[in-house]
Amino acid sequence: MSRKPYVRPMTTEWIFRHSRYARYMLRESSCLFIAGWTLMLVWGLKQLAEGPAAWEAFLQGLTSPASIFFQLLTLGFASYHSITWFNLTPKALPVQLGEEFLPDGAISGAHFAAWAVVSIAILFLAGAF
């Protein structure tokens, strides 16, 4: 009997095989927006260094429709990154107390709580409200 194994080619269609792969690609895509927004921040540092006029121009630039659209998308993608990151943390950092492990919800819950506290602190200290 002769063997002739058939190798099925791997194409990019794997992304569409199940919703979990599409969600994974969505999570990974957050990197584009986080990188873009951070570079915008770096640009802001440059304008801040150049003086009041340049800084005003930077703040003005933030108000353009394109900028607003990009920032809204970034908020969405960055939040999706945060949610998925904190939900995965218990898998990467299990905590064993005595015999039992802390439930996943406890670890991710603590992270979400800390996220809320840190966010409110940032908004408050920056004088957003």
Binding site: M1, S2, R3, K4, P5, Y6, V7, R8, M10, W14, I15, R17, H18, R20, Y21, Y24, E28, L88, K91, A92, L93, P94, Q96, G98, E99, E100, F101
Partner: protein
């Protein structure tokens, strides 16, 4: 018990006559409580004896009957026909070469399994005329990872394994972690040579599909991330604080 006529669309491949695989439709009268494996057995017994597939225990402990059901890796003995209203597409497990029909070539997995040394490398020999002692807490630390039945559904679900054939893969890495976490074991340094290599945990991008499809809830994704973190901490300790011993 009532009967239902099920349509199976099964990928066939005969290495002696076919140049590439093709689908074949079977119409099967099935009982309501049947699983896919029952339907396949019925096909083989009464319709087409040439259909080839692996199976054994029929109760999700042997890991033999893994296959793609409507594009999702599943155990045929744990796939209930009542959950599938339409035509059911049955293919061999993804990311493995097809030997014949639904039988895949699993040599790659077997080799990778051996490479990670999935056996106890003891710290010290067992006490004479006695057994190793282990507390319930020590057992709980690795118990989950012992549940792997080597069914390879995780390899079929993992896109990185599909894209990078040299990747060691979820099950083998989870099994290495099982022994690393075992208090009786002293083989971590040896296993690191394999699992902390590029083809080890570093090809994983935490898609998490492996843990989602695992029928035994081993959570290989969790095991892999734990190995990544430990390996990273070790690396920085070794390079930034070389005076510390492991």
């Amino acid at each position: 018990m009532s009967e239902r006529r099920i349509e199976l669309e099964v990928l066939r491949y005969n290495p002696e006559t076919d140049r590439e695989p093709r689908f074949q439709r079977y119409s099967v009268a099935c009982r309501e409580e049947w699983v896919l494996l029952d339907a396949l057995n019925h096909v083989k017994e009464t319709i087409d004896p040439t259909l080839s597939y692996r199976w054994s225990c029929h109760m999700a402990v042997c890991g033999s009957c893994g296959m793609m059901v409507d594009g999702e890796p599943k155990l045929a003995c744990k796939t209930f026909l009542r959950d599938y209203p339409g035509v059911i597409r049955v293919e061999p497990l993804a990311h493995f070469p097809i030997e014949r029909d639904l039988v895949t070539v699993i040599d790659d997995f077997m080799a990778k399994l051996a490479r990670v040394k999935p056996y106890l490398i003891p710290k010290e020999p067992a006490p004479a005329n006695a057994e190793y002692r282990q507390t319930p807490a020590e057992l709980k630390k690795f118990k989950q990872f012992t549940l792997c039945i080597n069914c390879m559904l995780c390899y079929a679900a993992c896109p990185e394994y599909g894209l990078i054939p040299s990747y060691i893969g979820p099950a083998a890495l989870a099994l290495a972690h099982r022994y690393n976490q075992d208090s009786r074991d002293a083989g971590r340094a040896t296993r690191q040579e394999e699992i902390a290599a590029t083809e080890g945990v570093w090809e994983c991008s935490f898609v998490g599909a492996c843990s989602e499809v695992c029928p035994e809830h081993v959570d290989p994704a969790g095991a892999i991330q734990q190995v990544k973190i430990k390996s990273t901490v070790d690396w920085y300790k070794k390079h930034l604080m070389p005076w510390t011993k492991e």
